[in-house]
């Protein structure tokens, strides 16, 4: 079975088109007959493959996501959870609950990628693992330390917890496996499933990437933008986005020390951000009472909405949940025009402060972590109705889980595959402008030049002029001449860097303080 996702389209052709992944090559102008023949055959095969895939999708992915539909003057956002509860079956109604745990203070949540298990972490050191199908509590531990974040690793067996000083990795049984001291006091954790990387941002605004398979530290960057606890991974390309107090959002990859993109999203601090599963949309909320939806292909705002959000999350089907205070708002665009409208609202009991909203994968359920425990509400149309057992299987057996672990480890992507546009992998690199040669290269070049200078043969001159001393002198001269341009270049570079250093303090200094800069002789 191939990967089948997304809802069932109306037309077979559309599906086929989807599975063809773009236009077929135009072979009209191709002169190479052999290549033409080969490509034509290939195209034919692709077409067949797409057709069968479309057929399979038609027959094997019959479930369609539902959603609330308003009748007459009804408005979908006026429909309460209670009214939904009256209409649904028992198994679904099990997903509406509030767990009240007032002591161990605001809770944060994380689901496994198949949505079967949930890890909940209370601020005051309470960790709980729950099987969401049976609602059994699998393990509950008290770390007796501040817990800031919890995140599942590749399956439900392991999870990482950001504690007071360091992040730790526990297994399902609550055994501490690792203490990741290099990360420091981590505020937010994220796990990159395909790359097996644990990303963290600590109190000092340092971003760490650690490979959880071999334990290697892949990247360690200073953001230089201050403390932040707003971090999210783009599921499409694995780029980590950070929201900063300066209103900027920076996007990082583990192989570059500077952000790939730095965008000014809000005039005030960014309070939260979220990515659409297809990776093209980003939602940010700022402290200035605005929620913005961005198109990441053009880096432009699509929509600006008033409202505050402490936490944002996109569901698998693209619904956007925003939580602030004790109020949760769900936005949706069922029209597909990327115009998000209010879809549902939910108010918690007075005094509950929502800390985190998180849609449960493959279920129409929104998990809410708040100051008094955690809750779960139903949001029709939020989850993907058809799951692909190769990608994530909510009904996974332990054997399947083991099998999948091995497979995913074999399919692990190296960290350099994280880039803004992963479709670029395997294409022809665009010709680049010539970069500066490295120091080593310059040295090697100089060596080579000197060697050639040494090896040159002199003309045999007449008796008086052919003295060995003179010849040695001449040779020396030649070597000098060969060296000269390199040395000159070096000096120039040095000068330039010095100049930069010299000019920097002046410009950095506020105007009021500039008068105190030591005046140098002109």
């Amino acid at each position: 079975m191939g990967a089948k996702k997304e809802n069932n389209g109306d037309d077979m052709d559309e599906k086929v088109k989807k599975y063809l992944r773009g236009e077929a090559a135009n072979l009209e102008g191709l002169k190479d007959k052999k290549l033409k023949g080969q490509l034509a055959v290939r195209e034919d095969l692709y077409g067949k493959s797409a057709k069968t895939a479309a057929k399979i999708e038609k027959w094997l992915l019959p479930s369609e996501g539902g959603y609330l539909e308003a009748e007459g003057i009804e408005k979908t956002w006026r429909i309460k959870q209670e009214s939904i509860a009256r209409e649904i079956d028992i198994s679904s109604s099990k997903n509406q609950y509030d767990i009240v745990l007032p002591e161990l203070g605001p809770y944060t949540l994380d689901f496994t990628s198949n949505g079967r298990y949930m890890a909940a972490a209370g601020r005051k050191g309470h960790l709980a693992i729950v099987d969401m199908k049976t609602l059994n509590l699998i393990k509950e531990i008290q770390v007796k330390e501040t817990v800031r974040d919890v995140v599942y690793l590749h399956n439900e067996l392991f999870f990482a917890v950001a504690q007071k000083k360091y992040p730790y990795i526990y297994n399902r049984g609550g055994t501490e496996l690792h203490c990741l001291k290099e990360h420091g006091a981590v505020l937010r954790l994220q796990f990159l499933k395909n790359h097996f990387l644990l990303a963290s941002i600590n109190k000092f605004g340092q971003l760490h990437y650690q490979d959880v398979t071999m334990g290697e530290m892949v990247g360690n960057f200073r953001t230089g933008l201050g403390r932040t606890d707003v971090m999210q991974v783009n599921p499409f390309n694995g780029v980590v986005a950070l929201g900063h107090s300066s209103g900027t959002v920076t996007m990082w990859k583990p192989t570059s020390s500077v952000p790939l993109v730095k965008m000014l999203c809000h005039p005030g601090p960014v309070s939260s951000l979220a990515f659409h599963p297809n990776g093209h949309l980003m939602a940010t909320s700022g402290k200035e009472n605005k929620i913005k939806i961005w198109d990441l292909r053009k880096f432009e705002v699509i929509q600006t909405m008033p409202g505050h959000a402490k936490t944002l999350n996109f569901s698998q089907k693209g619904l956007l949940a925003a939580g602030t205070g004790s109020f949760i708002k769900i936005l949706a665009d069922f029209s597909g025009s990327q115009n998000y409208n209010s879809y549902m609202t939910h108010s918690m009991a007075k005094g509950y402060q929502v800390g985190k909203v998180l849609f449960r994968p493959y279920e129409d359920v929104l998990g809410i972590g708040h100051s008094m425990g955690w809750s779960s509400i139903l949001i029709p149309g939020s989850g993907e109705p058809n799951f692909d057992s190769w990608v994530a299987n909510p009904f996974e057996t332990s054997k399947q889980r083991r099998e999948k672990e091995v497979h995913s480890l074999l399919d692990k992507l190296p960290p350099e595959t994280i880039m803004l546009d992963p479709t670029k992998v395997g294409t022809v690199r665009a010709p680049q402008k010539k970069e500066k040669p490295t120091k080593k290269e310059i040295e090697a070049e100089m060596e080579a030049a000197i060697e050639t200078a040494k090896d040159t043969d002199f003309k045999k001159k007449t008796k008086g002029r052919n003295k060995p001393s003179k010849r040695a002198k001449k040779r020396q001269e030649m070597i000098e001449r060969a060296k000269k341009p390199f040395l000159e270049q070096q000096i120039q570079e040095h000068e330039r860097s010095r100049k930069k250093q010299k000019t920097n303090p002046e410009t950095e200094m506020p105007k009021s303080l500039q008068r105190f800069v030591r005046q140098k002789a002109a």
Binding site: G2, R21, G37, S49, T52, K262, P267, G268, M419, R429
Partner: protein
């Protein structure tokens, strides 16, 4: 010794060969051919010569077919019994002194002289051999005591031929004269007797003595037959040519032989996958197949078989079978009918074929001339009927014309024509002159034809012949024009009333007036109608004009005055204009036309092209001005404006390198200039907008000028100036990634010696360098992805680690990037494809089971209709195989 030698010669030149060979093989310079001959002689069983002669006589063909050597052998064998091998030579014992030794002492040239003659002996046939023999005699005639020798020879001849001695004697006498020749004899230096002739022994001479004996008539007949048949043999080609021809023939042959493999090779090449040992035949495997091969052996088995294969049982089975077959039955009548029909069709086809063959073979000039004429007639008829054909014809004519113009084939350029002209036309006869004139006429016809077409289609004169088929609409419009003119005439006519006669009577006059008024009204109505019609017609007119293409356009210059006619409407003018613009060949002329007309009547049409140009030029100049003013020197004057527009940009403008500020300046200046310009037309404005492009995109930012309430709040909220910081950040990163060029500085003290130097400032080349670097930076900044996005910084740094994920260069067979990327777009792994497709997507080029012996390619005849099929078909075939294989595998798996 010499005597002995002569003796042996006397036995007959032609007969002495074998011995001579022996001798030569001892001697110094034997020829290769001789060797060959000796070898040949050694071959095969040696029959008694008598028997062989007999055989020979019975079947001379064998003799003639066989090699020369054998031929000679036969000649030799005739005399075998008469020949006496000298005892010294037979070497039976050693009683005699070794006589041959003397031969070594013979002079070299003597030997040499003989060699070629020997050679000829081998080549030549019987007669020649005889000739040689006599020649040898010549050579030997120098010896003193040849008389008796000759006599003996004569006697021998007499004995052989049975003729009287004088037949040989006379010749002998003549030959007794010895002429020593300075050069060796060869085909270039024939010997004397060849030149003198008449020394031959004809066949007749040989035949005569056996007249009346048994077998004579048979022999004679055969000889006569041979005589009749014999033709002169051509000299063989030189060896090089012969071999070349041979090679050519061989090449042709082998080419034909090899090309028959082509389709097989092609199929294999085009197949996406080549299968080897795909269908290993394991023989029958079903129970039924095995059972069918069963043969009863034991008695019991036989008994059973006899029961099973009982007649009754078989019959019953048969009856059942025949029932089934009945459905397949065709009635005899039907079958006959079908067969007859097929036969008829076949015979018709055959007849037709034969007819065509015969017609094709006809070489008669008159026939072809008539045929061509007929063809032309048919074509012209078709041309009248079918516009498509007409178009085609016109195209052909055009092509011919072009060809004629290109080659000037009929313009007396040929060698023939030039020669005639050189000699003068008057010197020629009627026919040649006519031919020449005809040629010229042809040329004129070919080149002129198109002109006439052009004229008729483009000119609206009534005088034109209008035999062109494409100008139907034109004709219609002309008809309308005529009608109009006539009606107008009718309208004008009404002043003249008859003054005398019956018609001048008052009631008649009244009646006339009435009728005229009616007529006038009618005419007016008609006129209206015409005008309407014309309007539509003109609209239509323009379309076919474009469609008819080349033949219509290319109005000659001399038509311009024609177009001044008053009857022409403005529409018409436009049409002409249109032609002129669309013309490709006579572009210049057409343009000239347009210009002329533009000058003549400005009201009718606009001279668009030049105007446009002028405007553009103006624009360009304006923009040059902008650029000039965009110098750093003039910056200060605009700062105020920027301050006014939005306050938060203050800092930037202070930096002095701000791009946006500059842009703003430019835009503003542009607006000022616009106001100054008198011709503020929409055209030019829009043009300007396009040209500004990037600059205009920053122009809307001026709307920031009015800070709204929310804006103010925002500003207040963002206590620390976030945007400004970001701006600064961006600037920094830009500077880092595209560093700003250093300001040109002289070394301190340089260039500051005098006031003049100081006034001059920096040298021009430094400034220029700086400017260049600046411009370069600007360009690279513009090229950045975030150039248009104020709020975004996209890092341009190259990730070296990620570089390996992309190819540096295009992989080999691809030549275009798009094609490569499109061909790579589909993943072929099992994760993203259905199970059924993965196999075919990942199949290797060669599929071979281990242990299968790959047999050499086998020739398979390809049918004619199959030859034209392309790779797709073969691909399908392959795929069929594949699917079969796949399904088979699946079955196995399921089992």
């Amino acid at each position: 010794m010499a005597v002995k030698k002569r003796k042996e010669r006397a036995f007959g030149g032609e007969s002495g060969n074998s011995k001579k060979f022996k001798k030569y093989s001892n001697s110094k310079g034997p020829m290769k051919k001789n060797k060959n001959d000796t070898r040949k002689k050694g071959k095969g069983p040696r029959l008694p010569s008598a028997l062989r002669t007999e055989l020979d006589r019975l079947d001379p063909k064998i003799a003639s077919d066989s090699d020369d050597g054998i031929d000679l052998d036969v000649g030799n064998d005739v005399y075998e019994y008469e020949e006496e091998v000298p005892q010294e030579e037979s070497r039976k014992n050693r009683r005699f002194d070794p006589v041959e030794n003397y031969d070594y002492e013979l002079p070299e040239d003597f030997e040499d002289e003989n060699v070629p003659s020997d050679d000829e002996d081998d080549d030549g046939d019987f007669g020649v051999g005889g000739n040689k023999g006599s020649r040898n005699d010549d050579v030997d005639a120098s010896d003193g005591d040849e008389e008796e020798d000759d006599e003996r020879h004569l006697r021998m001849l007499q004995g052989v031929t049975g003729m009287s001695t004088d037949a040989f004697g006379g010749k002998k006498k003549r030959n007794s004269v010895v002429i020593s020749e300075a050069h060796p004899e060869s085909e270039y230096n024939p010997t004397r007797d060849v030149l003198e002739g008449d020394s031959h022994i004809t066949l007749q001479d040989l035949l005569d003595p056996i007249q009346g004996k048994a077998g004579y008539s048979k022999l004679r007949k055969r000889v006569q037959h041979m005589d009749r048949k014999s033709t002169s043999v051509q000299a063989p080609l030189p060896k090089v040519d012969r071999e070349k021809l041979e090679r050519m023939a061989v090449y042709e042959h082998s080419k034909k032989d090899i090309t028959k493999w082509e389709h097989l090779v092609k199929r294999n090449r085009e197949a996406p996958t080549v299968f080897f040992g795909g269908d290993v035949d394991l023989g029958f495997s079903t129970v039924g197949a095995i059972a069918s091969e069963f043969e009863p052996r034991t008695e019991f088995e036989k008994k059973i078989a006899s029961l099973v294969y009982d007649d009754k049982v078989m019959e019953a089975h048969k009856a059942d079978g025949s029932k089934l077959l009945e459905l397949n039955k065709i009635s005899e009548e039907d079958y006959m009918k079908h067969r007859d029909h097929v036969a008829k069709m076949r015979s018709l086809l055959f007849r037709h074929e034969m007819k065509q063959k015969r017609i094709k073979k006809i070489k008669s000039k008159t026939y072809h001339r008539l045929k061509n004429k007929d063809k032309l007639k048919v074509e012209s008829a078709e041309m009248l009927m079918d516009p498509e054909a007409a178009k085609e014809q016109a195209r052909k004519q055009e092509f011919k014309r072009a060809e004629e113009r290109l080659t000037l084939k009929h313009k007396n350029k040929s060698k023939w024509a030039r020669r005639i002209l050189e000699r003068g036309l008057n010197a020629q006869d009627e026919g040649t002159r006519a031919a020449l004139a005809e040629q010229l006429h042809q040329h004129a016809l070919l080149t002129r034809k198109i002109n006439t077409v052009k004229d008729s289609s483009s000119s609206s004169d009534s005088s034109s012949d209008d035999d062109d088929e494409g100008s139907n609409e034109d004709r219609a419009s002309e008809l309308l024009e005529k009608a109009k003119e006539k009606t107008l005439k009718v309208l004008e006519d009404d002043e003249e009333l008859p003054n005398s006669g019956v018609l001048s009577l008052p009631f008649m006059v009244r009646g006339l007036k009435k009728r005229r008024e009616e007529a006038i009204e009618e005419a007016k109505l008609a006129l209206q109608e015409y005008e309407q019609l014309e309007g539509t017609n003109d609209a239509e007119n323009s379309k076919p004009a474009t469609a008819s293409g080349r033949r219509v356009f290319g109005r000659a210059n001399n038509e311009v005055p024609d177009s001044n006619k008053k009857t022409k409407t403005d529409n018409k003018m436009k049409m002409d204009n249109y032609y002129g613009n669309s013309d490709s060949e006579d572009d210049l002329e057409a343009k000239a036309n347009v210009n002329i007309e533009g000058c003549k009547r400005n009201d009718v049409e606009k001279d668009v092209g030049p105007n446009y140009d002028r405007k553009e030029a103006a624009d360009v100049s304006i923009f040059k001005n902008f650029d000039d003013n965009g110098d750093p020197g003039s910056k200060t004057t605009y700062e105020v404006a920027i301050f006014a527009s939005d306050s938060w940009r203050k800092m930037k403008s202070e930096n002095g390198v701000d791009k946006n500020a500059k842009k703003l300046q430019q835009v503003k200046e542009a607006i000022v200039h616009n106001k100054d310009m008198e011709e503020g037309e929409e055209d030019s404005d829009s043009e300007r907008e396009q040209m500004v492009d990037g600059i205009l995109s920053s122009a809307p930012k001026e709307s920031y000028e009015l800070p709204s309430q929310s804006e103010l709040i925002r500003h207040a909220f963002a206590g620390d100036d976030v945007e400004e910081e970001f701006e600064k950040d961006k600037q920094e990163i830009l500077n880092e990634e595209n560093p700003e060029p250093d300001k040109p500085v002289l070394l301190p003290g340089w260039g500051q010696w005098t006031h003049v130097q100081q006034k001059k400032g920096l040298p021009w080349w430094m400034l220029k360098e700086h400017e260049d670097a600046k411009r370069k930076r600007e360009e690279s900044l513009k090229k950045r992805k975030d150039a248009q996005l104020k709020h975004v910084i996209i890092s341009e740094k190259v990730d070296k680690k990620a570089e390996k994920l992309q190819t540096k260069s295009l992989p080999y067979p691809f030549t275009s990037k798009e094609l490569f990327e499109q061909s790579m777009r589909m993943p072929i792994g099992s994760e993203s494809n259905p199970e059924t497709a993965i196999r075919s997507l990942n199949r290797p080029e060669v599929v071979k089971k281990p242990g299968v012996i790959i047999k050499p390619i086998k020739f398979v005849e390809m049918h004619h209709h199959e030859k034209s099929e392309d790779y797709k078909r073969s691909g399908q075939k392959q795929k069929k195989n594949k699917s079969k294989g796949a399904s088979g595998k699946n079955k196995k798996q399921s089992n």
